[in-house]
């Protein structure tokens, strides 16, 4: 397979003729091979299916790369950029399949909005500290109730109490995972600011639970 500079990749993929065809074939080969190596620990399936899946992802990624080639900024190797797109295509599809394969009915179905912790109870604290912990926990719970929007609270409680992943929360809330990440980030930032307004820091709270 020919070694190409970034410029050669761009030129050959954007022209027509034998050079273009060779570049497309080489890139497809590079992407398929990369996905097979990278996804090996991610895909739980038999080898033949896995091979086909990697080919399909590579094909789809190739179309996306050709459509977006002008957005390549040249800050990395062209092939690294192409691999990034291929992995994104594969993960999007694999995550969609994971959601289909695993029912999330039990995740937050507890009667519409009130959450019951699914985690095992923590070890009992020392008696002299128990009251302080309870007091602090009550205050944190109240901050979550009062400082956050309903959506932020739903996502944060699912994440912190249920231990749900961003993808699971996204599925349950019918949101994009990136939007859930932003929602959780904003929720944590609000809590931080609310604590600061009260003259408290997260470290103050953490110290109580040491």
């Amino acid at each position: 397979m020919a070694q190409r500079t970034n410029e050669q990749w761009i030129n050959e993929l954007q022209t027509s003729g034998p050079a273009h065809d060779a570049a497309v074939a080489d890139l497809l080969n590079i992407l398929s091979s990369g996905l097979r190596r990278g996804l090996l620990s991610q895909v739980n399936t038999s080898a033949p299916e896995f091979e086909t899946q990697a080919e399909d992802f590579a094909q789809e990624a190739l179309l996306k790369i050709l459509a977006n080639i002008k957005s390549f900024a040249g800050r990395s190797k062209f092939t690294t950029w192409a691999h990034k797109i291929a992995v994104s295509v594969a993960l999007t599809e694999l995550r969609r399949k994971r959601w289909q394969d695993h029912s999330l009915d039990g995740m937050m179905d507890d009667g519409g909005g009130d959450y019951t912790p699914s985690l095992a109870a923590d070890k009992a604290p020392a008696p002299e500290n128990a009251a302080e912990r309870a007091e602090t926990m009550t205050h944190v719970a109240r901050l979550i109730e009062e400082a956050l929007t309903e959506k932020q609270r739903t996502a944060l409680v699912a994440s912190v109490i249920e231990g749900a992943t961003t993808n699971e929360i996204a599925q349950k809330m019918a949101m994009n995972p990136n939007a859930v990440y932003k929602l959780l980030h904003d929720a944590r930032l609000r809590l931080k600011r609310s604590l600061a307004q009260e003259g408290l820091t997260p470290a103050d709270i953490i110290n109580v639970f040491r």
Partner: protein, 102 residues
């Protein structure tokens, strides 16, 4: 620590909502959950990157890591996002595996 509880008790006394009168938190947290949450809150900054911003720079970042440069110092906002975002972290891990096995 005494100072912290003084502040906390003062805050609680200022709050007149009925729910305050009960010792049961309205959201059932655990010690571990509160501590984990507060660690996350402590690390959260206003200028964190979004997933899209991180994704746009991920190829550049992963090449820095692969070439053993100090990626965390050179691209701290990408680094911070990857610590907090499991999806982008998964993307990064796979991409790094691909480059490392070339």
């Amino acid at each position: 620590m005494t100072n912290f509880f003084d502040k906390l008790r003062k805050l609680i006394q200022l709050d007149t909502k009925p729910a305050l009168e009960t010792a049961v938190p309205p959201i059932a947290l655990t010690d571990t959950a509160v501590a984990d949450l507060m660690r996350q809150v402590d690390e959260t900054e206003a200028d964190q990157y979004s997933c899209a911003e991180t994704s746009a720079l991920l190829d550049e970042y992963v090449e820095l890591v692969q070439s053993e440069q100090d990626a965390a110092t050179l691209m701290p906002l990408v680094e911070r996002h990857l610590v907090h975002c499991p999806n982008c972290r998964e993307h990064y891990d796979i991409l790094l595996t691909i480059l490392q096995t070339e």
